[in-house]
Symmetry: C2
Subunit: 454 residues, 2 copies
């Protein structure tokens, strides 16, 4: 059986999905699972939950814990990474600083939990160090990367190291919400989704074997307005209602393919995001996931989820399988391991180097595409050409932003950070951008980054 290491196992929500999936996947029983985190408390908690879940499901896994990353990597064959360096607090402060400089809801991508410190410095540095350690300690292991920024991070690792990296996200499952809203039964739906992480588009949509885009067009024409007045839309959680919002429909009209998942928020054009009123018009009453309203809903949701975990943790008699039924979570991490380790051919949605799958994107840029996973490894399927307008106004600009972030990171180039900010439509002067960059880098948690970006 295989050796699996979870780096950042203290991310309890993620880790519980992995544990659940491992316990459900009998073909991986007997494997060794190493839980690694720098926080002993969090490690104790996830260890306790893991052991209890195993007992309830009668699963057979060998569990180890460590706070030492190198120990965790020593004989690993699969490394799962969910690390968010420094937590969420600095990000909130950085957003407040940016708002004072004239950037509503902060700079960076429009997913609040994106960059983990200005210029993605802390995350990218961590990713690279992890991959370099793997080159020393387990050079043949797979790195399954879930921590953001997935696009920048996996592209960086695959360019700079020899480690086989796979980026994993669940955003593409947004198509299920779309299909359900259209009233289609999922088992008859066949969807292909492709692009970059958080910027993926429905390249094929079949229902009972036939092109179903006309069904979507019909829904837009005849039912969308009614849906946008429904309780379901008006009262729903922001990250659930975005998928069929006016924003998604307009993006489809502008760019020619329907956007899926986080794409609706993070790849939508700037003019949906200028202020709260505008955001509400495009994303519904919460203004979407990343508005001040949507984000505070999310933070509360996070908090209550953590509390729930803690109460289960402190009550040894609580049933874990009641909270997390022993069925596959939907996350792709464990299925990837099962497919590779046990040579079970499966098609999954993964972030891997393009290698000519999407036309017009260089081979060494990581794309999110369907890929065949098996004992042979991971093989992307050919997607082909995307609509010209989508390439020119969304895909290539997003790719260039990734290149800017990586260039600034690799060369420690503060000028590049400023120039990238000059492309933000809210920037009115060079001085504005420079003073924001300087103030962000002057924060105590960015001391190392400040030395790096000269």
């Amino acid at each position: 059986m295989v050796n699996i290491s979870i780096i950042g196992a203290g991310s309890v929500a993620f880790s519980m999905s992995f544990i659940r999936d491992l316990c459900v996947t009998e073909s991986l029983w007997g494997s060794k699972v190493t839980l690694m985190d720098i926080s002993k408390d969090r490690l104790n908690m996830i260890h306790n939950l893991t052991v209890r879940y195993m007992k309830e499901t009668k699963a057979n896994l060998k569990i180890e814990t460590t706070t030492n990353r190198k120990d965790a990597l020593d004989d690993a064959e699969f490394v799962l990474c969910t690390v968010k360096v420094g937590g969420y607090k600095p990000m909130e402060t950085e957003r407040e600083i940016a708002e004072r400089h004239g950037y509503y809801r902060g700079i960076g991508d429009r997913v609040c939990d994106y960059y983990g410190g200005f210029g993605a410095y802390h995350q990218l540095k961590f990713f690279l160090e992890l991959a370099r350690d793997m080159e020393d300690l387990c050079p043949d292991a797979w790195l399954i990367e879930t921590a953001n920024p997935v696009f920048e991070g996996t592209t960086l690792i695959s360019r700079e190291t020899k480690i086989k990296t796979i980026g994993v996200c669940h955003g593409h499952f947004g198509y299920k919400k779309m299909a359900k809203t259209l009233g289609l039964s999922l088992k008859d739906v066949n969807v292909e989704v492709a692009g970059f992480n958080h910027c993926v588009w429905m390249t094929h949509f079949l229902y009972k074997g036939r092109d179903a885009y006309p069904l979507l067009d019909e829904w837009i024409e005849e039912k969308a307005e009614k849906y946008w007045k429904s309780e379901e839309f008006l009262k729903g959680l922001p990250w659930e209602t975005e998928q069929m919002s006016p924003a998604a429909v307009d993006m489809y009209k502008q760019f020619g393919l329907f956007p899926i998942g986080d794409t609706v928020r993070s790849a939508s054009p700037w003019w949906y995001h200028t202020d709260l009123e505008t955001k509400k018009r495009w994303f519904g009453p919460t203004g979407g996931f990343d508005s001040e309203i949507g984000w505070s809903i999310y933070l509360k949701y996070r908090e209550s989820r953590l509390k729930r975990m803690q109460s289960i943790y402190s009550d040894p008699s609580a049933s874990l399988t009641k909270e997390f039924p022993p069925v596959m979570s939907g996350e792709q991490h464990i299925p990837i391991i099962d497919s590779i380790a046990n040579d079970k051919e499966k098609i999954l949605q993964l972030n891997i180097p393009n290698k000519n799958s999407i036309s017009g994107i260089p081979d060494d840029v990581v794309v999110e595409i369907p890929a065949v996973v098996s004992g042979r490894g991971v093989q992307g399927i050919h997607v082909g050409t995307l609509p010209k307008r989508l390439m020119l106004y969304v895909m290539i600009p997003r790719m260039m932003r990734m290149e800017q972030i990586l260039q600034a990171f690799k060369e420690g180039d503060r000028k590049s950070l400023i120039l990238a900010l000059m492309e933000d439509p809210r920037t009115k002067s060079y001085e504005q951008a420079r003073s924001l960059v300087d103030e962000l880098l002057a924060q105590p948690w960015n001391a190392e980054a400040a030395r790096h970006y000269r």
Copy 2:
């Protein structure tokens, strides 16, 4: 000897340079030169001046005139194109309209005489028709293209037709102004300039065989401030003083190579151009070539040049060689013809498909690079890698703008014209961009374009 056709020969300033160079280049004597223009008056004028210049220089050329383009192409071996469809008036009105919509000095590139009608429609359509006629009538002829937009036009023709196209511009000679300002004798200066037309950068700078960038750095450090207070800078013509302006020096600092010629104006970042005061700070007291001051100086200069031509035209006793001394004008068109027709190997600065000369630019994008011209044809020399920041923040964005213009043109895509305008930092809302595009396309001279861009 060869057959040369000048399409748009009524552009007297350009044509006189060609005639002058032909009369000076004895190895091309005996050639047939067909002057073509749709204006009979202008044609008579240039014919008269040509015949007189030939007489004064005792040159031997066979001159024909026609208002019929197809006649001019019939047996052509070299076709020179200087056509500006519709003249300058519509452009001025279009700029006024754009200013009313919030776009100071209009939209489009920052060279006023660039696009010849919104979205470059009229120019691109003309280029393509001309090249298609050439495919029928003189498929082996060379098209030497000087009319703007050179970058978009030559890329379009080389992608869409089989015609061999060379784009020619004199902007790169700006390096002479730079060398003179530094006090260097031109004969000891060796410069390589590369990029896209109107976006070219000094990739090598040697003086007496040694890297001379340190001399430029020294000038910036020690003499620039004084130069910017000199009569030469403060009273000079805007298109002559831009080369060593604070804008050029800042661009060098931002992007790592010194910008040459029109680059200083048309490839400089938006924040040099927000208003007249800002333009003055970067480009000197006129605010540069394309400010309201600089442009009115240019229009007056144009007018006086035309008047001068007309007075010479109407005075049969006037000496033409006194006005235009019989030495090479500096334009590259006739040297290209001489090199190809007479197999004289020469290195010229030309706009030709990249074919891997500049790294990171696709092969089918036209770049401006040094090329060897001879009986073998035109062969670009390898330039290599440009600085990363220059690529990320200037070259690739400029290339993407070209791709946007060509895609909108090829697909008749009005949405694309609007989306391109959404990337202008002055655009505050989608409605603003849409209403401007609609109003521009509603102008009488754009009736055909309005039908094209749906």
